[in-house]
Amino acid sequence: MLKTGSKFLFALAGFGFFAAVVYAAGTSHHTLGMDAIVGPLTFGYKGYVGEHSGYTILMSLSAAALFLGIFLSALRDADPEAEAQVLGLETVPDAVVPNSVNYWPVVAGFSVASIVVGLAIGSTMFVIGLVGLTVTTVEWAVRAWSDRATGDVEVNRAIRNRLMYPVEIPGLAILGVGGFVLAISRILLALPKLGSYLVFGLVPVAIMAVGALIVLKPKLSQSVIAGLLLAGGLAILAGGIVAATAGEQKPKEEHKTESGSQGDSGLRPLGAPSAAVVEVGHR
């Protein structure tokens, strides 16, 4: 028997199909006849199909909703009783409560944001984002697996750490030390002689000071660390944007009426809902 969720999806599929046929027939600019009906029914193989994109999307909606409807029918709408049957239990187990902190979603967010900035601005941010996303994928996958390794949260944590520390610690060390050395070398190259002497002398002192601070106060509040990392992530994104704005040597000015050449094969601009720009200056 069809259940409520599946019924909705089948109705959506039916709507998609009906709308696709009527839309394709209605926009075909031909006299409404058999060809206008047969065209949409045969995916345009015989007869006419009017506006192609709308027809394709509506037909695809029909297919996608049909797929989901059949799928959910097979799962009996994923009803709790049907889920319990899968496990051979009397009642279905509760969903797992996310009772531990996990910063990977935030890292994933920053990584994707970095990719976005990189797509617009330059390859460095893109690479940073891609590396972040790859690391997140690996870490997230391991975390998801280890969280279900045993029923003991602390043992799961120990298992995860045993698997990942040998990778994470050297990796972080290489990234940290390498990045630091690279940054300092860039600064030293950019400075005059006296400045480089000063930096060369001050950097070890700063490292010593940070080390001493860590020794004196080994347990910093997690919120402080999280805040610092958050500020760092925002600084990277902001830095990328500022670099793009300030670093544009000769910004390419675009013209509002810019468009491609008309009429050449394959170079014709796509049709738009309105050929003109929306002007709201004189509301």
Binding site: E51, E248, E253
Partner: protein, 530 residues
């Protein structure tokens, strides 16, 4: 041999379990950043979207003021007005209305279906952070002179990519919400017994999942094109017109689907009776979702006859029926039940009335003879539907204040806010509809000089009232931020499972195992049994 089947290390670790010191769960910023709790994520969505909302309303007010005397009043300079306008349209939907609905749904839906968490809680967290950072980058792109009509190539590229990130994050949130309603229901709670708000969120999520990816694909296409010279999309100036389908009917209706679920749930509870026939309410919400499918307009042009197609008119007219059906069912509730005047009920009625105005106008606009396409009439329809969604979301925060926040919201200010919002919304929407019908104020013509100037005075008053209403609603919600003592679990004599959870709900939502649900109104059953 599998890793987990290799016991020595595991046994070793377990045998030394005394040495594995349990970690204290972090609080404060660390707790928020690392949280997968649906209530924390929902609150984050609500707070941030409301903050963006204040900026959006201020911007709308700016446009309304400029419309008073377009020749002399220059609130926005001629160079930037188009960018401000596109930001206003994009932000209204993607930075305010949609995330506000999602925020409420994140908190309420798991509670309503008796789940201790959202499905894929970490993905839900990623959706919030992705949305927030995407929104920040979207604003930054305008600051770089980007966005549609912007002069900086990189700024325009950033705008496209940032909007794609925002859309992707919303799709991720929709996956989490839809899966929660489908697969995390408590025993006995079949979908036909699911609370109507949860059902409406399911319908909305599915519709977002089948329409917003089309927008995502379009943005990818626009990015590739713009990156390589912009020959296909008319460079920076042509970008916005490609997205107009997202902001017009029927697509804009998908933003307002939860309005119907919210209204049905709240009005049934305030009337202390069951909504009947229930399948009609569910069907109406489902039908409203289906007719909101608007992504088939993605590449439609006026020449293609797409806007005049018969199916568009049918969809436009059909969209009114579900809203009327919910209105009718609400009327029946008032007739049968013992109605209480609560802020939640006023929000519900206000949002349905404004939605009805929006969809009725949409139906009128879909009649080809009236020729309203591309005029401010469309703007009026969109504003009506989006405002209905915002009013309902604010009402939902008020109604579920003890679940979203820590104690009830201020009821007396809460009763004032929806009335002000109702008046303000009507004053914003109706003048644009009249101007559009009169053929004045074409939205997509270069020589557009706005709506009828006399009527624009009403728009200014309306925008001010909307701003005031939003502020009043936010003031009424201030108490929910403070910790309370002995906060009632069920202040409204609720009918659905969320009211069994303590206020505010603990991490796993419910302190005792839930009873097997036997009807759509399990708490009403319990009360009747007593």
């Amino acid at each position: 041999m599998a890793v987990i089947d290799t016991p020595p290390e595991t046994v070793h670790a377990a045998s030394e379990s005394a040495t594995v010191i349990p970690r204290a769960q972090p609080t404060g910023l660390a707790g928020v950043l690392g949280s997968g709790d649906h209530k924390v994520l929902g609150r984050l969505f609500i707070i941030t979207s409301l903050l963006f909302g204040l900026a959006v309303v201020a911007l709308g007010q700016g446009f309304a003021v400029e419309g008073l005397a377009p020749k002399t009043l220059d609130v926005f300079s001629a160079d930037t007005v188009f960018q401000f306008f596109t930001f206003f349209r994009v932000a209204t939907v993607f930075l305010l209305a949609l995330p506000l609905v999602i925020g409420v749904a994140f908190v309420v839906v798991p509670l309503q279906v008796g789940a201790p968490a959202l499905a894929f809680p970490r993905a839900a967290a990623a959706s919030f952070w992705g949305w927030l950072l995407g929104s920040g980058l979207l604003i930054a792109s305008y600051a770089m002179n980007g966005g549609p009509g912007g002069g900086s190539t990189k700024g325009v590229n950033l705008w496209i990519a940032a909007l794609a990130l925002v859309v992707g994050a919303i799709v991720l949130a929709a996956v989490s919400l839809a899966t929660t309603v489908f697969a995390l229901r408590t025993p006995g709670l079949t979908l036909d017994r699911a609370p109507l708000f949860a059902w409406s969120v399911l319908v909305a999520s599915i519709m977002w999942l089948v329409t917003l990816p089309v927008l995502f694909g379009l943005l990818v296409l626009m990015y590739v094109d713009h990156r390589h010279g912009g020959t296909s999309f008319g460079a920076n100036a042509g970008l916005y017109s490609r997205l107009l389908w997202v902001f017009r009917n029927p697509q804009i209706y998908t933003v307002a689907i939860p309005v119907l679920g919210f209204a049905a749930d709240v009005l049934a509870t305030t009337a202390r009776t069951r909504i009947a026939p229930r399948f009609a309410a569910q069907g109406a919400i489902g039908a409203f979702g289906i007719v909101g499918f608007g992504s088939f307009f993605v590449a439609a042009t006026p020449d293609s006859g797409a806007y005049d197609a018969a199916i568009v008119m049918v969809i436009g007219l059909a969209a009114v029926l579900p809203v009327l059906a919910i209105g009718g069912l609400a009327g029946d509730l008032f007739r049968r039940g013992s109605f209480r005047l609560t802020a939640g009920a006023l929000y519900a009625v206000s949002s349905v009335l404004i939605l009805l105005l929006g969809v009725a106008a949409g139906a009128l606009g879909s009649l080809p003879r009236l020729d309203t396409a591309g005029t401010v009439f469309d703007l009026g329809v969109t504003n009506g539907v989006v405002l209905a969604s915002i009013i309902a979301s604010l009402g939902a925060v008020h109604w579920w204040a003890t679940k979203i926040g820590r104690q009830p919201a201020n009821e007396s200010i809460g009763r004032l806010a929806p009335l002000v919002l109702l008046l303000g919304s009507a004053a914003v929407v109706i003048p644009d509809l009249i101007s559009g019908l009169a053929g004045d104020g074409a939205e997509t013509r270069l020589d557009w000089t706005g709506g009828i100037q006399g009527l624009n005075v009403i728009v200014v008053v309306g925008a001010a009232l909307v701003g005031l209403g939003l502020l009043a609603a936010m003031v009424s919600l201030l108490p929910i931020l403070k910790a309370g003592t002995d906060v009632e679990a069920d202040p409204w004599e609720g009918q659905t499972l969320e009211w069994l959870a303590p206020s505010p709900p603990p991490l796993a939502n419910f302190v005792a195992p839930l009873p097997v649900v036997m009807s759509a109104e399990p708490l009403l059953d319990l009360r009747e049994e007593k």
